[in-house]
């Protein structure tokens, strides 16, 4: 483990750019902290934090100049590996029939800075879907291989976070290249850095660092411990799959259906939700056609449309139930883990503030 003085953080950015990476990191925009391409650490939301609660997110000034003193915002890294819209292939009409061309573009080298523990888990979960199944999504895989990941251990959790009970945070544990813990104490501001890969170690070696002293390591551990202790929201996952499978007719689904707007925000912000649909785009001449993929949501009517029956899940209730049981129960059967990493986004960004942890509690309290 090494320490990097806070004013040396810029070196990391410069180095990564020199290695050909575009740097994507938290940035302040439109009254929130989102992920965007940045140039230097000063583009980070220095000295800002957020106050989150169900259906509400507010930026706030911090007392200090922390670079990473906030929790996750409305964006997730899935936009990098699974872009909201993307061309899969194109077809051109020919004398006889048509030809199809693979339009895969070479992915960009991207350095993701400030990836949180829960987000690393989310990426691992999407890897299971797109790389580790029967088929491999070539776009996803290629982009995934071009990532350099700088994780940040959370020094600040939001009121909506519940990674502790999902065992996904606040300390970064899944694959990363570098992991930083930001420490601000007395007059010192530094990062305790740990390499998680050979690439990461090489990068670390090229920065001006010092070997972390025991006290510094302890300070870093303290940061994470304090964060963990501050997380009050919980989701009891014990026997959850069975509980939900056995309660598909629970009256609570009717209750949540009244509050749910079926707006789909929860699925869009969720870092693991991977559903997509396709659109066929043609030009006016009809000689060219493109096959695009775009994010879809199980909250739309088209999602489960089949001819003759219409939407299989036409009620709000069935759509919310699909979403929640998929996240928390059937995901285990499909991919061997929960589909929820406890990032709290769907709670914060749901306009009515529907809280997945509360919905589980309500069913648990009164199971069938």
């Amino acid at each position: 483990m090494h320490t990097i003085a806070s004013n040396k953080l810029a070196q990391l950015f410069i180095l990564l750019k020199k290695q050909g990476y575009a740097v994507i990191a938290p940035a302040l925009r439109d009254a929130a902290i989102i992920y965007d391409e940045v140039e230097t650490p000063s583009d980070l939301p220095v000295g800002w934090t957020d106050a989150q609660s169900p259906g509400s997110y507010r930026l706030k000034k911090r007392e200090d100049d922390a670079y990473f003193g906030y929790a996750v915002g409305p964006h997730s890294w899935k936009k990098v590996v699974l872009p909201p819209r993307m061309k899969l292939w194109a077809a051109r009409r020919e004398e006889k029939g048509f030809t199809i061309s693979d339009t895969t573009e070479a992915p960009r080298k991207l350095a993701l800075i400030g990836v949180r523990a829960c987000e690393l888990y989310a990426m691992a979960i999407q890897d299971t879907v797109f790389i580790k199944g029967d088929y491999v999504d070539p776009f996803y895989k290629a982009q995934r291989e071009k990532l350099f990941i700088v994780a940040v251990n959370c020094a600040q959790a939001a009121e909506t976070c519940f990674c502790v009970s999902m065992k996904t945070g606040p300390k970064a544990e899944t694959a990363y290249d570098l992991a930083l813990t930001e420490v601000i104490e007395n007059k010192r501001h530094y990062f305790v850095a740990e390499a998680g890969s050979r690439r990461g170690a090489a990068v670390l070696a090229a920065l001006s660092t010092a070997i972390a002293r025991p006290a510094e390591k302890t300070a870093a551990r303290q940061v994470i411990r304090k964060t963990a202790a501050s997380i009050k929201r919980t989701l009891d996952t014990d026997g959850l799959k069975t509980l939900l499978y056995e309660n598909l007719a629970h009256p609570r689904w009717n209750d949540v259906a009244e509050r749910c707007l079926t707006c789909g925000n929860c699925t869009m912000v969720c870092p693991t939700c991977f559903c997509t649909t396709v659109e066929e785009i043609t030009d006016l001449t009809g000689d060219h056609s493109e096959h695009w993929r775009r994010w879809d949501s199980c909250f739309t009517m088209d999602f489960s449309f089949i001819h003759g029956e219409g939407s299989v899940r036409s009620s709000n209730k069935s759509r919310y139930r699909q979403w929640m049981t998929h996240k928390l129960a059937s995901w285990h059967d499909q991919f061997g883990s929960s589909g929820c990493v406890g990032c709290g986004r769907c709670i914060t960004w749901c306009p009515p503030g529907i809280d997945i942890t509360e919905e589980v509690k309500a069913i648990r309290k009164n199971p069938a």
Partner: protein
Amino acid sequence: MPAPPRNPPAGATSPYLPYPAEIVEKRLESRGVYTFRLRFLDEVRHKNYDFRPGQFNMLYIFGVGEVAISIVSDPEIGETLDHTVRIVGNVTEALNRLDVGDVIGIRGPYGSAWPLEAAKGKDVIILTGGLGCAPVVSVINYITARRDDYGALKIFHGVKTPKDLLYRERIRAWQKDARTEVYLTVDHPDHAWQYSVGIVTNLFTQIQLDLSNSIVMMCGPGIMMHHAVRDLCSRGMRMDQLYVSLERNMKCALGFCGHCQMGPNFLCKEGPIFRYDRIRHWFETPAI
């Protein structure tokens, strides 16, 4: 269950790409239903193409989109690759505008197959309604071509009106086989109708079924299947003797798009054909 053959093999190229194939024959089966015989433009691909009865392909119509359609031909007759399509909407209507010589795209095969190994030596009861018939035709063809491997073959087929009856010629051919029984029923008969009237399950009462040594394969509207399952189980059929073919909205057939889920199952991977006891919990939950 052996892993389904992949086309193209994992990792080789993008699994999203369809391969061009020509329509070599287009046959009207009944009102609004056609069988398309297809041939990959790439001879090698055509020769190597392999599937199991019950699997499906994604058919692509230029400029319109893709749909999931079961393969109905016999995998061992390498020359043929048939799909029977009911013309219902966007893509299928566009397909219907095409004719012999036109080119469409194919990727596949996908999904699970009928339990033709498990059924060896047993009676096979086939239950279909409406267009449900298409996916099971492959089974019937398969069994009639290997008649000695199986016991009695009993085909129950229900449609709305006599006009909706598919495969009239084939049915006549099936009827000729001594160990194959074909039972037809319609909801609304016309004066020329010589078979039964009413729902398919009504026929069970009239016919001797050896339930202990049978495998049932079913495909059709949800309501029909619900009735049939209940009826057969009440007669002592075990759920693991029943196989159903299900439908869900489908976009990619690769397990990526998420549309075809039914509980924990992806219809494009675990389905579309399920042993009933494995899907029951979901099948019986409305709007799941």
